[in-house]
């Protein structure tokens, strides 16, 4: 019987396991299906990781390396090349590995840290032929950075998510010609710094409010057709541009990898595609926690780390102190301008100093006020100069303020006239 089984050895799993160790758990197991720890960071060889957490710029593998180093000083057990196939509602974890065999392990608590996967062409139903040469940006990143192969020479990128932007630069530096980055929304889905450093610096045009409307080529991509879209995101006939290219990279969103979560009967939030969680990242199944990209898609690994440390600490408390009394709960409601929040509900009685609240806005906003209300009562307000769906927002709600709320907390955005 383990105190904690962590599923996934990416930054979320690593930080969660370390935190649980520090909080006093001793029988901890990390199960990772890859041959090494680090998760998706291993293929992110660009820098820009750790600015918040370590206050310095690290590459993905360097960032992961720091945590792997920390883990070495603990007694946390790691099983690599081992995939979890099933988690039961009795916290039995079925896993299989070439060297570790097929095993069923029991745990007092579980941290789900499986990360996410990329949306594919099929998910967005791009019409046309189905040749080779259409890759998700992450798959292309893996080929280039880990396998040492360039998947194509003339590239169009659909979607301006961060991975797509990073790959625009990466492919260019490897000698490919990136012809365009095409985004269906009127704003980019990626971080502003990536637009500047990965597109502008290399003269790669960004077509906002455009999408790919046809793919041509029988065996390998030969052309893609790009059209402008109207405000209902429908292609406008007559605006077609044809690009001669051999590759289309897709950076059209990430989907939390929650098959195990669903199987276990844990409640899922259709807005995040992750488990519904409490303030301490506990899911609807007591003793099972979720953090990192499996809970909601993060842009910055630093936040993954912080969130997972909270989850790891909470798992330790669950094991050491037992299940706390339910207490009152506040439901968090998405008000105007907000597309989701994590957590989705809070037990004020379990918040020590303050509750971290993450959310995304559903449109680009200029100077704004983030308002938190309960019923008719305003609990807190925060101002921001700029808000965009591509950048996750974070606010801290002090325990004192939560105690003044009842039943629901509503988070909404109010744009303010700039002085």
């Amino acid at each position: 019987m383990y105190d904690l089984i962590v599923i996934g050895g990416g930054p979320a799993g690593l930080a969660g396991a370390c935190a649980a160790w520090e909080a006093g758990l001793r029988r901890i197991l990390i199960v990772e299906r890859d041959r090494e720890l680090g998760g998706i960071l291993n293929q992110c060889i660009h820098n820009g990781f750790g600015l918040h957490y370590f206050k310095e710029e690290l590459t993905g593998p360097e960032y992961a390396g720091r945590f792997i180093e920390m883990l070495r000083d603990t007694g946390v057990e790691v099983r690599l090349d081992t995939m979890v196939l099933e988690v039961t509602d009795q916290r039995k974890v079925h896993m299989v590995g070439k060297d570790t065999g097929y095993r069923v392990e029991e745990a007092k608590s579980i941290l789900l840290a499986m990360g996410c996967r990329e949306r594919t062409r099929g998910a967005i139903a791009i019409p046309g032929t189905r040749p080779a040469g259409i890759f998700t940006a992450g798959a292309a990143q893996r080929y280039v950075n880990m396998e040492g192969w360039l998947p194509g020479k003339r590239v169009v990128i659909l979607g301006s998510g961060d991975i797509g932007l990073i790959m625009a630069r990466r492919m260019t530096l490897e000698g490919a010609k990136v012809l365009a980055c095409v985004e269906v929304m009127p704003y980019s889905g990626g971080l502003n710094r990536n637009i500047v450093q990965c597109l502008h610096d290399y003269d790669i045009p960004l077509y906002l409010s455009h999408t790919v409307t046809d793919i041509r080529g029988v065996n390998r991509v030969e052309q893609v057709v790009v059209s402008q879209v109207d405000d209902r995101r429908q292609p406008i006939p007559g605006t077609e541009m044809v690009f001669d290219c051999d590759t289309l990279l897709l950076s059209v969103g990430l989907i939390p990898e929650n098959e195990l979560t669903r199987q276990a009967g844990i409640a899922i939030d259709p807005r995040t595609n992750g488990a519904v969680v409490w303030e301490n990242m506990e899911t609807s199944l007591p003793g099972v926690f979720a953090s990192g990209n499996v809970a909601h898609v993060h842009d910055l690994v630093d936040f993954v780390t912080a969130e997972s440390q909270r989850a790891g600490t909470a798992a330790a408390r669950y094991v050491l102190e037992g299940e706390a009394a339910e207490g009152d709960a506040l439901e968090i409601v998405n008000g105007d301008g907000v597309s989701y929040t994590v957590p989705q509900h809070v037990r004020p009685g379990r918040v020590e100093k303050a509750c971290d609240l993450f959310f995304r806005v559903n449109r680009v906003c200029g100077p704004s006020r983030i308002k938190v209300t309960s019923g008719d009562k305003q609990i807190a307000a925060f101002s921001r100069d700029y808000l965009a769906p591509g950048e996750m927002e974070h606010i801290l709600l002090p325990r004192k303020l939560l105690d003044g709320a009842s039943e629901t907390l509503c988070v909404s955005i109010e744009e303010v006239e700039s002085e």
């Binding site: 660009h46 990329e118 998910a123 046309g128 192969w149 530096l173 051999d246």
Partner: protein
Amino acid sequence: MYDVLIIGCGIVGAATAFELSKYQLKVGIVERENDVANGTTKANSAIIHAGYDPMPGSLMARLNVRGSALARELCAQLDVPYLPCGSLVLGFSTEDEVLLKELFRRGTQNGVPGLALLTGDEARALEPNLSPAVTAALHAPSAAICSPWEYCLALAETAVRNGAQLHLETAVTGLTPTADGWRVETSRGVLDARYVVNAAGLDAQAVHEMAAPSSFTIHPSRGEYFLLDKSEGDRVGRVIFQCPSRVGKGVLVAPTVHGNLIVGPNAEPVEGDDTATTAGGLAYVRQTALRSVPSVEFRASIRNFAGVRASTDREDFIIEEAAPHFLDLAGICSPGLSAAPAIGEYAVELLGQAGLALERKADFTASRKRVRFRELPPEEKARLVAEQPAYGRVICRCETVTEGEILDALSGPIPPRSVDGVKRRAGAGLGRCQGGFCGPRVLELLAREQGRSPGDIPQDKAGSWLLACETKGGHADV
């Protein structure tokens, strides 16, 4: 010198080869592509039709009903995913109800077992997600679903294990009659055969015209699909049709044997084998399907695809000796998948009538088995991994396909040459991430086991290259 040479290794060519391999004959199959099941056979609705649709007395009717019965046995024998889930044809109006009654009559005449006409409420009792607008339905319990490419592979592999020779990446370019049969020119040299069978699908007209005067025209008709995630797999438990029209059986909503939901097809005339999907076609499919099952969640789409029917200017399958020792199996549009094993049997019968000596082999092997790790109970999984650790390494995370299963595929009677070849055999890449995760790993295994450079391995058909060149090398610091 082959006794019989079959041109084309889709389901029809494969079924014919399977049937012929039961006899003491030298059988050859030539296939243009680098794998079997790479034409219409891999892109269709995957339904083993009950057989109420074709006109009584037609070849289609007879071979469909017989083929469906054979499919049940063959799929069990050859370890092909097959599920006898039954089907419903929906009616939404009094005109539809007239048609349903007509289908019921036809089906009864064709010998389809168990047909029943239901009211809308009775249909909804079977399938709660059907539209409230459904007023009547025809229930055909003998309809089934299968994995069409595995079906074709199983038949072709069994034929090969029983001595048939398969020539992949070999296109037939000309046919010349000789004293004792045919000289078959191919992209890889000349082959001689006493009998030639034309199972070239969409190219059957072209192949026919290499051997005989023109006698039919193929009018290709494309059907487009959505394949939805397993989260939608339980939306319906049966194949849900609308009333058929002259151009096709209409848009259906059906489970697949892999646990997904398939929705389609439309019917659009196209040139040749144009399997592109179109915005208009997909929009039509979506709207039409929602009439039957309004709750289908199209956001769960994981793939679109299209297949092209080899429809002709004749109403029926074209199965006849078009020239001495030259047999056409042409115009095999729907229900060709269902009818295939019966077409194979009938082809052998016709070859026998044309003088081919048919003597049974004593040592015909008609079984096939493959490991499907995911479906095993935990104890079996544990035992298998303990014996052979390769079954413990999961390569495709969406479908839980292991390295062991991929190695099995690579050492099978018809080894795959492409990433999609592995997908068709082992299922890696069929799932929701569509090979995004396992693609590089499958490529690595193919390269390692076959001693090829990753750069030479295609996604699917020859020319569908995946990797342009090696990177500048080392760990670039970007």
